[in-house]
Amino acid sequence: MRPFAYVEGVSVADAAAAVHAAPTAIFLAGGTTVVDLMKLGVLAPATLVDVHRLPLGDIELDDRRARIGACVRNAQLAEHPDIRARWPVVGEALLSGMSPQLRNMSTVAGNVLQRTRCPYYRDPHSACNKREPGTGCAARTGWDRDAAVLGTSPHCIAVFPSDLATALAILDTIIYTRRGDGGARRLPFDGFHRLPGRSPERETVLDHGELVTHFELPDLALSRRSHYLKVRDRASYEFALASAAVALDVERGLVRDARIALGGVATRPWRCPAAEQSLRGRRAEPAAFRAAADLALADAVAGAHNGFKIELARHVVARALTELAARPG
């Protein structure tokens, strides 16, 4: 690990300004991504600005919304009784990922800003445009079994792995930030993560030194009936091969509104607007869910070893919707 200076952030403004002022500084929250990648030599910041003690650790609720501090621990969010009742997809997504120890350490903002698990990204000796722009992409000609089938570019095919982000993508989440120059922004979750395009090293729309302070979840008609389904190589403690976050608003057997997002198969949290639209006004039944699943994967493109993910993801979407429709609601 390269030597670095450790700075404890004393206020939101001060922490943002500290990173803003130093081009090679980054924020440290739970450290479960940052420390891991620093040990591997993938990240080598000269300064770590620790934000985990900032007053961003609370979950506030009223009738209309939840306001979740950026430094809320993932375990804390997963176990919160009101979050479980009003936005069940959030807790289900969190409990399907990491281990209890990791959920105790890691934060909500860190989760949404975690890095890909692409093995070439994690190996500083491999060509990787995301880690070192312009060096190429070893995954495209190498081991791409875990790579994405949606949202890829010739420059990068890496999966964005967060379960939580897949859930937040269907909930009209708003992200609040504080910039290093003192300004503040309100960013819709849709569009927060960028497609790799020609610059896979830029993963979100955040500027350098821009600190995420809160996430806001509005109360939606369909958020109480929401669900996360994840398929992985082993029964627990593993990243998704394919996952789906879904929500349904059903009245007298007819779908009034639907939300679908995919995880484990795309380069960013992946909303499926065409599939959602296809369900509106249809009967809530497996045939309609299967048709929606086909639409969700219609643009998928497989590499050499990851073609199975397309069929797998179709089944995950259809099954998630079928399970959800069967729930009393």
Partner: protein, 152 residues
């Protein structure tokens, strides 16, 4: 200077900021119970408690632990009296080589404190909640039996 509170004792250590909590415990305080398995958050051998919660000491920086109460396997017994979970691991023969055992026990002790009703802890629930602790010897059936014994 980094101030650490470990098993109730206060320490002041001159540490490079790169030092993980695991390395501080093992190399600077001589507490070698927490083990370095993978050093990347994947195996659970380094599990300790920070402010009562189980965490992975290999991914925690020591400098970030100011003011926190850290407990390791060495702090679990009360004098000569082993913790009930330690006794259960011995009685159920819940180990072979023993490398993963301190992490398993710290994880299992925290697990029991995480649930409101121990009745919730079916075998399936225990397995899921212990999934962050790998055992290369495959002692899982007896680890499960030991936790079940303490649960009831």
């Amino acid at each position: 200077m980094v101030r650490l509170t470990v098993n109730g004792e206060h320490h002041e250590l001159a540490l490079d900021p790169r030092t993980t909590l695991l390395d501080a415990l093992r190399d600077h305080l001589g507490l070698t119970g927490a083990k370095k398995g993978c050093d990347h958050g994947q195996c659970g051998a380094c599990t300790v408690h920070v402010d009562g919660r189980r965490v992975l000491s290999c991914l925690a920086l020591a400098v970030a632990q100011r003011g926190r109460e850290i407990m390791t396997i060495e702090g679990l017994a009360l004098g000569a009296h082993l913790h009930p979970m330690q006794l259960a691991f011995i009685e159920c023969d819940a180990l072979q080589c023993g490398f993963c055992t301190p992490g398993q026990i710290m994880s299992a002790v925290a697990l029991l404190a995480e649930v409101d009703h121990r009745r919730e802890l079916t075998d399936v629930a225990i397995r899921e909640r212990m999934s962050g602790n790998l055992c290369r010897c495959g002692a899982y059936p007896n680890i499960l039996a030991a936790i079940r014994r303490v649960r009831t």
